[in-house]
């Protein structure tokens, strides 16, 4: 493989046979690169066929009037689906509810409660910490549909929440009817807080003890320590967590489907449920996909922000 022995002056050089040309460094390194990249190929094939393919297809049929039944050909309709969407009250309602759902359950609920739990856990005694952590994480590990049933039972007229309110002599009501979006938001907080709690626990554990202790000796109270020391030090985790929570919440389907089916009426119909209804119950695949594409674009924007947050680490 190394340099050939120097040929003597009288030796006739034999021409290399046509079958085995000496590999030039370039083709050899190319071949090596290909061999090395070979193991990646099964993953790439799967991802291209089943992930990139559907995304491309999504971008295509969003601009057609494809329907589920009775129509042989679909035709290209340009931006009609999008134009229709932005004039459709049901769509705008879904956008609004998605916003409410995301802000209430992800930004305010999971994020704040997760941080509160994580920082309380830093100080609490071990048994209490283990118990609370176990319960909160169980809620998270449960299958989505089961979580939906549990909270359906909790919020129903005959459910546990009303029983407690009665016992406290507070007015009870049919939560899934009067405030469905609030009920599903609480359900999502119940189910998703563990993730934030784990992320923040890991982040808080990395803050050197000396820093908080020094602040404590200097007389900084709990809130001021939180605001001036803890929060700035974990701001990257906050960013990451908010992004991931929001992306997760944007695509919640099963939980809401089980609890309310998007109802009553469409008062808890977030975008994924709206998309499903348009595509399958109303057979408007093209229109449903246009909504899906919008959701995908919003998701991608969040994804890009998330990548920028991680930029230094890749």
């Amino acid at each position: 493989m190394t340099a050939a022995p120097p040929a003597g002056p009288g030796v006739v050089k034999t021409a290399p046979g046509p079958t085995a040309p000496p590999p030039t460094p370039k083709s050899r390194s190319l071949r090596r690169a290909l061999t090395r990249a070979l193991p990646v190929s099964p993953a790439v094939v799967l991802l291209v066929l089943f992930l990139a393919g559907p995304i491309a297809y999504c971008a295509y049929i969003a601009f057609t009037d494809l329907q589920l039944t009775g129509q042989a050909e679909s035709s290209f309709v340009g931006f009609d689906n999008f134009r229709e969407a932005f004039q459709d009250e049901a769509f705008l309602n879904a956008v609004w509810l998605t916003l409410v759902f995301t802000v209430l359950s992800s930004l305010i609920g999971q994020n704040t409660l997760g941080l509160a739990l994580a920082s309380l856990m830093q100080r609490a005694s071990k048994p209490v910490r283990t118990l609370t952590g176990g319960i909160v994480i169980t809620a998270w590990v449960l299958p989505e549909v089961v979580a939906g049933f549990l909270l359906y039972a909790f919020f129903r007229r005959e459910g546990t929440l009303n029983a407690i309110l009665d016992w406290l002599h507070l007015p009870s009501q049919n939560w899934l009817f009067t405030l469905p979006i609030l009920a599903v938001s609480f359900a999502n907080v119940w189910r998703g807080t563990a993730f934030s709690m784990l992320v923040y626990s890991a982040a808080l554990n990395e803050i050197p003890k000396e820093i908080t202790e020094a602040a404590e000796v200097d007389g900084a109270g709990g809130w001021r320590r939180m605001w001036h020391i803890t929060l700035p030090m974990i701001r990257r985790s906050i960013g990451t967590n908010l992004m991931l929570n929001t992306l997760q919440t944007l695509s919640v389907f099963g939980l809401i489907w089980v609890m309310t089916r998007g109802g009553p009426g469409n008062r808890s119909q977030t975008l994924p449920l709206f998309m499903y209804e348009q595509a399958f119950q109303k057979s408007m695949i093209g229109y449903g996909t246009a909504v899906a594409l919008l959701l995908l674009v919003v998701g991608s924007l969040f994804s890009v922000v998330y990548l920028r947050l991680l930029r230094t680490e890749v």
Binding site: L46, F50, V141, V145, G254, S300, S303
Partner: protein, 281 residues
Amino acid sequence: MPVAPTLKSRRANRRYAADVGLLVVAAAFVLPLAWVVLSALDPDAGLQVKIPDGVTLDNFDAVLEPDITFTPLLNSLILCGGATLLTVVCAALAAYPLSRFRSRLNRPFLLTILFATSLPITAIMVPVYALFVQVDLIDTMQGTIFFFAASQLPFAIWLMKNFMDGVPKELEEAAWTDGASSFQSLLRIVLPLMGPGVGVVTVFSFVMMWGNFFVPFMLLLSPDQMPASVSINDFFGNRGTVIYGQLAAFSVIYSTPVILLYVLVARRLGGGFALGGAVKG
């Protein structure tokens, strides 16, 4: 009460306050969980958390039927087991060159992967359905398995690569000089050394798929192929009144495997484990 509390007593007070705070949250979170456990054992379960009138296993007896429990669970196992296997094998193979060899393509590839991990999969289910109808993969187990694997792959590759980076390269170099191929060293040296990492990827993929409702709900049609995540809805609607005790019993049976798997992995890796680390990169 001392006028100026010492640092020590202030800390003790703070610990009590933290304990009380956590217990309040724990009490709120435990109510729905208590409902499912108590109702499953209650001969006369309703929608409220209450102490059962008497403990019975009748609810479990009633649901432990082929149609209700065994077939859906078996379907779940085939679906999630198959897709997890595919995910883990593809992820391990793909992670190896990404972790071991330098290439100009690594960074763009990893960025794409990371980007894909956070895409809302829910959004592409309608086009996937339309596509599957065209290529005749709708209502097939293999189609659903392929899609499950593809949707879980980005995160699996990302996790696997991070775990693989933790295995020192020197160990393999010895094997390389002995003439072992990359594939052999991956199989014999790297993977055994990152056993816990492979475990995390496997369990995480499996748990995510086991609980997923939307994917099989969209891609499978015939009732005899439905996994537990979809068939559980049969307790509602079609059969008239809902027997909550049986629904609760089925929920317990269906949820137990993933809880056990989680405990297994969490034990192994201690508390908050890899997710926190994985999320931070």
